[in-house]
């Protein structure tokens, strides 16, 4: 299917509005969903986050996930942006956007994308605080989340 799937793996920040201009404009689009992930700092201790990535594999891995979502839910548009490098609290880490005929398809595809990006896209997060640096551990629940699809 000729679903437009756009993917960007980048160090630069992105602007949701700019990225969404022209998104989901097919006449058969009835619903668009966006997800934006941000660097959270619950305790005030986080200085920055460092996101490492596997450049060669990243875009391919994301494209496979996005293509599957696009086909499975007959998306009319699909966008994934994921950043790497140093990010401070409050900064945007990544976003996905999905467009479909109905809301249930747009929501399901966006959640599917997030679940798979979480544990199948080659990124690794390290949190740097005054006390030191620590790699964010993958959660069992992230792996479990895949079983629902």
């Amino acid at each position: 299917m000729a679903v437009p799937v756009r993917i960007s793996v980048q160090a630069e920040d992105f602007d949701l509005a700019t990225e969404l201009s022209g998104f989901g404009h097919a006449a058969n689009t009835g619903a668009t969903v966006t997800f934006t992930g941000l660097v959270r700092d619950d305790t005030g201790a986080l200085q920055h986050m460092e996101i490492e990535h596997y450049p060669g594999m990243c875009e391919d891995a994301i494209r496979k996930i996005a293509d599957e979502a696009a086909n499975r839910w007959a998306l009319t548009d699909c966008l994934v942006i994921h950043r790497f490098g140093r990010l401070v609290p409050g900064e945007q880490i990544m976003m996905v956007a999905t467009a479909a005929r109905h809301r249930s398809e747009a929501f399901a595809a966006a959640e599917f994308l997030m679940d798979y990006l979480k544990s199948r896209a080659p990124f690794w997060k390290k949190e740097v605080t005054r006390e030191g640096a620590e790699w964010v551990a993958a959660k069992d629940s992230d792996e479990d989340a895949l079983s629902r699809w």
Partner: protein, 83 residues
Amino acid sequence: MTLNLLYFAWVRERIGEPRETVETSAETVMDLVAELKAREPRYELAFSDLASLRVALDQELAEFDAPLAGVREVAFFPPMTGG
């Protein structure tokens, strides 16, 4: 055969470099890991718990018993934390 090895996140930090090239006759990823572990303590440390490691062959996720025939790039890393 010549393999390009890539290491990410704490695997990279334990081994101390992001990439290297090795000559090996290992038949599977597991054989390669055994060879590396025998080389130096830093490899022993990096590969001490395979359950906490993932491997990609030519940029595709694979199992540790996968054959290396025809492979050019092997990447080792912890479970991914994207999103």
